[in-house]
Symmetry: C2
Subunit: 182 residues, 2 copies
DNA sequence: CCCGAATGAGACAGTGATGTCTCATTCGGG
DNA sequence: CCCGAATGAGACATCACTGTCTCATTCGGG
């Protein structure tokens, strides 16, 4: 049986999220294959991380498509987006902290993602749904940060997996402060 | 002149925040000293990271003291806390992503910080200032995550340094959604 | 069943970082 | 000014990881 490349990437993502400095040997073991086979699929550590980056970008972009962020109420669209990113949360948490990626040239895909996410926040502001005091760039950054924090909190047992989406969405949209009137 | 140990730690923190895998040689150069001297102050890389951890915990604890988080309106206390963490933001951003620390035993100091921060959120909930749908544990996690995201956004030029505190505080407290009534 | 492809296990050299050492030089207080 | 402490520069062995290779074994389609 030919090794399932996507399965290897998924296992690598799960391990690297917990331990960003895991060696090729540890990654191979986590994926249930030998180091030789791992090298047959990915020329080296760089290639593996790059493949993970591509996978993360692709899946996040798919989440953007599924959530139809250009349609309907912006707040609801954001909720849909956060829910749709659930399967990518782990990979994103890893990639977000992998500042190594920013030393060597940045993958063009990030610009596409940033643009679409930022556009959603901007639309929300124009439609009066989102506050104007928080810049779309910061809201985008905060979204990434909270997705990472959510994934990490779940992985560490501080938040139940089923609550992840709601916790991230409620905090990002409504904040911690209680509203006097709705 | 004896090397200013705190200065070395500050430079190390600044570099490691940007590049978590920086070598001892790079850290030494960034601090303006030789690798030999760096080793004379910190037995090894582990010891350096541990010292950084201690420094981060100590400074964050000082921020908690300065902000007097047990006094007054919980929301205002949280604002004070976020403002007071400004000098530690970089170090916290690094430590937050340094999952290496969680493999070897966890520094007891983190528990103290978590307890105090969580207590603030809990007090806010009891006093009716904070929403009950978001658990104090998650709010604590989100605070750390947003401090990290803020530091990273400033470092990357997406948010002006002078806006950092306000952006983090406003998002964490009020969220992205616009309030219909105040 | 058979044969080619895929895999696992391990050897191997190369590489970069680490930690320790020595020695010459610089600094600064007395 | 002088002397001891601190520093810088570099040598050195060690270590872990990497990337490549070989060879025996296993797998699975035809």
């Amino acid at each position: 049986m030919s090794v399932d490349r996507d399965h290897v990437l998924a296992e690598a993502a799960a391990l690297l999220t917990r331990k960003a400095t895991a060696s090729m040997d540890e990654i191979a073991k986590a994926a249930g294959i030998s180091r030789a086979t791992l090298h047959r699929h990915f020329a080296g550590r760089d290639a593996l991380v790059r493949a993970l980056e591509d996978l993360g970008i692709e899946q996040f972009e798919r989440a953007l498509d599924e959530a139809r962020t250009e349609e309907g109420d912006a707040a609801e669209a954001l909720r849909r987006l956060i829910a749709a990113t659930e399967p990518v949360a782990g990979i994103m948490a890893f990639l977000y902290t992998e500042n190594q990626l920013y030393e060597a040239g940045l993958n063009e895909g990030w610009n596409r993602l940033d643009a679409r996410v930022t556009a959603l926040f901007q639309r929300g502001q124009e439609e009066g749904a989102f506050r104007l005091e928080l810049s779309p760039a910061w809201l985008t950054e905060a979204l990434y940060g909270l997705i990472g924090a959510g994934a990490w909190a779940v992985q560490d047992g501080r938040v139940a997996a089923k609550d992840r989406t709601r916790m991230v969405a409620e905090l990002l949209l409504g904040g911690a402060q209680r509203r006097m009137k709705q």
